[in-house]
Symmetry: C2
Subunit: 534 residues, 2 copies
């Protein structure tokens, strides 16, 4: 972050933001001017620079060029003549024409997956001589293409313009996630794919897929097909097939988005029970089983054999280095009621159930570690003092208990672990009015800690839990509210004025409508193009 030069530019930009008013999230460094260039839909092209490491055939960028041509110019793209006629008739050329955006990347990772360590920085230079997007990686180029698309605007007469602009940009945090819960309600594949698109518009880069939970098990397991057959809402219509999962992962990859799959245990596993008899703890009512079940049974060898086989599959299906192993909200009531569990505790000398939980989780972490995976866990794993690998990522989700989330961030980073913040960003929890401001004004590093400790905060995630959310209300509840989190995680800490944000986010929301996203309004007003159900 380049000190004073940066700040001057930020403030200047904020003052004459007119033609950059749709930029969301706001870039780290921007300098723009009133000098503008035209773009002609039927001739404009994206081109690889001769010196670029990626060249035609690079799937990630070829596909992105296609997408952005469509987003910018829609069906007007190509050899269509309507536009050329129009331009000939209106005649006057106000400005120089930009015939192409030249893209140059240093390293091509066209067939790889984005990782937590991927470089996302890029430089965009639009002036009389150049129209250039330069980045270290294809992932940075994707971010730059989105910014480029947001810089283009259309006059009342329909002419496309871009202003003279220089942008140097990079994310503040490398992990900028969104959690979707596909267990409490099943989300059709199309909802997930559409969400990935809008995540990319917001420069979010991690899709945290909370894929199974108590209510249903829609993930189609090849090794244990009974899990889905007996645990899904409907094993024909309400599941994610092997092919679906592959499609999500590839669709995400093409947008520079990692898929962080969560298989939460030992709690939140009721839907696993029917498919794997014996996996869950039988709860007792007095001396007899009550017929209900609790968390995963941590005292049986079978449990660990199952987990070993199951997570072998998961580790190979999901390419990301990290898996999310859950570990939240383990209810001890059922364990307490079960005499076999009590006996095991005695034998092991466990004084409280947190130790039993730790015993389970440590065994699970060992299994997953053996598959060369890293892991993310919910904060309870840390709170309950489970021994974890030093590279474990702890996700903070509880707002006030056992401590305020800022204090929790402090404790986690002081203990040397990396942290992810979610507590203030539960998008499912709606309230009346402009609550996006509450999400926007969160400062993730606002806790007591050394610079080294704060550097352990790798980002955060907006969470959309599914108790009251499915494909009918997901999109308007998610956007543009999720955008508030996206900018907080991408942009400079100093970009925190809600008036400046309101103007841009309102504009960005209209742009989302134009792109076909059913994003809800921030306040009274209108968009040129309103949402209409097709």
């Amino acid at each position: 972050m380049a000190g004073s030069r940066l700040w001057v530019s930020l403030l200047l930009a904020a003052a004459f933001v007119g033609w950059a008013r749709a930029l969301w999230p706001w870039p780290q460094y921007i300098k723009t001017s009133s000098r503008r260039y035209t773009l002609h839909p039927n001739t404009f092209q994206f081109r690889y620079d001769a010196s670029s490491a990626a060249q035609p055939g690079c799937g990630v960028l070829d596909e992105a060029f296609r997408r952005y041509r469509h987003l910018l110019f829609g069906s007007r793209t190509g050899s269509g003549s309507t536009y050329s006629v129009y331009l000939v008739l209106t005649g006057k050329r106000h400005a120089l024409e930009k015939k192409m955006l030249v893209v140059s990347v240093v390293t091509a990772e066209c067939n790889l997956f984005p990782t937590l360590e991927s470089a996302e920085n890029y430089t965009l230079t639009i002036n009389d001589d150049q129209c250039l997007l330069f980045s270290e990686s294809v992932w940075g180029a994707l971010r730059g293409l989105e910014t480029f698309s947001q810089l283009i605007w259309r006059s009342a007469k329909g002419t496309f313009f871009i202003n003279k602009t220089k942008i140097e940009d990079f994310p503040r945090f490398p992990h900028r996630g969104l959690l979707l819960d596909t267990s409490r309600h099943y989300l059709p594949l199309s909802s997930i794919l559409d969400t990935l698109d809008v995540m990319a518009y917001n420069k979010l880069n991690v899709f945290h897929w909370h894929i199974v939970d108590d209510p249903s098990f829609p993930y189609e397991s090849l090794t244990f097909p009974e899990l889905t057959r007996k645990g899904s809402y409907n094993p024909v219509t309400h599941i994610y097939t092997v092919q679906d999962v592959k499609e999500v992962i590839e669709y995400a990859r093409l947008r520079g988005i990692r898929v962080l799959a969560e298989f939460d245990t030992p709690g939140h596993t009721l839907s696993w029970g029917p498919g794997i008899p014996g996996l869950l703890t039988p709860c007792y009512s007095g001396a007899h089983p009550s017929g209900t079940f609790g968390p995963v049974n941590p005292i049986l060898n079978n449990t660990y054999e199952f987990m070993s086989t199951f997570f072998l599959e998961i580790s190979s299906v999901f390419p990301d280095f990290y898996l999310h192993l859950g570990g939240d909200e383990v209810d001890f009531t059922c364990w307490k009621s079960n005499p076999d569990i009590q006996g095991f505790m005695k034998k092991k000398g466990f004084g409280d159930f947190k130790q039993l939980e730790s015993f389970y989780i440590q065994s699970l972490l060992d299994i997953v570690s053996a598959y060369d995976k890293g892991y993310v866990v919910w904060q309870e794993v840390f709170d309950n003092k489970v021994k974890v690998r030093p590279d474990t990522i702890i996700q903070v989700w509880r707002e006030e208990t056992p401590v305020h989330y800022a204090k929790e961030m402090e404790l986690i980073t002081k203990a040397g672990f990396r942290a992810l913040l979610s507590a203030p960003w539960y998008l499912n929890r709606i309230s009346y009015g402009p609550d996006w401001k509450d999400y926007y004004t969160v400062e993730p590093l606002d806790f007591d800690g050394t610079p080294e400790e704060k550097a352990l905060v790798i980002g955060g995630e907006a969470c959309m839990w599914g108790e009251y959310v499915d494909s009918s209300n997901l999109v308007p509840r998610l956007w543009p509210r999720g955008g508030a989190v996206a900018e907080r995680l991408w942009s400079n800490k100093m970009i925190s004025d809600t008036n400046f944000a309101y103007k841009r986010l309102s504009h960005f929301r209209c742009e989302l409508l134009r792109r076909g996203v059913q994003a809800q309004p921030l306040n009274v007003g209108y968009c040129e193009q309103e949402f209409e159900q097709t």
Copy 2:
């Protein structure tokens, strides 16, 4: 309401609700059995009884028959062969077939508009001998057709069934409304029409069109085209043309829905200002006009001349006997600042601004009365003791001030006026979780009053104000939450158990999804057919 027989049936029905579980709102009297009949999509017909006053050519019913055929059987309707083949192949006839629903009405009002006084009662008899819908009016027949459609269910094998059933039904309140605000956000015509459809599914019968307000004036006035030209968000894309308004009124009529147009004055009129110079009160800052404007200027003859002409148009455009004249939230600050207003007050001997407000409103009411219209006003008109006609309808919207809404209902009815309840039913005000229960458990007559006073409560309205709502989030916010209000206003007071309601409303919500309505979930679970953006 037929005493003990009614109650026994209600309770019985609640016990074995299986095949009637989609009924929403719950009918006044229902008796149903496990005996069932098949319906064949390609042959089933709606037919007029020979003795019916309405016969083929009756637009309201002809159209309704078409709609319900489509809702029930979709594209499977008609001479298509797929279904017959299927039925032949599956072979077995489990039950008697019902080839038609015979419809009989006593009075045909096929080309008229529904009114506050329209009869909506109907009787539905499905037994071995009959499949008959009998009603006094076509409006009642519409309600019965909806109920009939909700009684039909489909087996896993795809066969359509209806059970032996007897229903005698009528609304508890004659005015069951929904307010949409098309000023704070413009709602595309399609959003309004789609809403009318879902209102009919819920047996709501008044569309309260809060068409203009401070932020925009989308109503296209023929007499004063400048109102729209200068007061709408966009005079080309964000207006309701004369044709649009006609379409809304006719679309509503065909569904037995009245259109209650609201042109709220003297406050909430900022968008009127640009089109009608001099209409609004110039606010003063010290001795000089500040350049801002307040409510309609009540001291000028021009104002009343304008209102006279304007409401002449409105009275003819909107056929309903009632107009809504607003009258809420008049801010006196601007009037107070204006020396001409002060002078007028002095001359008239008005001691406070409520008297000035009364002066304006009384003049307006006289104008509208002369056009043979009745009117509805917001509660402030009553609170501020404006002299109104005894047949005025007062709409209660304030939850706690000046008094709790139940007290306000008491005061209004004690004064002999008819009342409409809206205060507890502001659907725009969202909160996290199952807030439909709050709407559902409201009892509109739960105030101190004699039976005669309570009889003055003609119903209520759910309100969807537009500060944070437009076509992007309208539908999931409206449904099924609005259904809670709909059942409260239709069904017997005793139908108030939220568990019974939850089961039916969840099922009804799935039925709404099946009908293409983006209704949101009530809680964890799933529908056979989830919402997918097309």
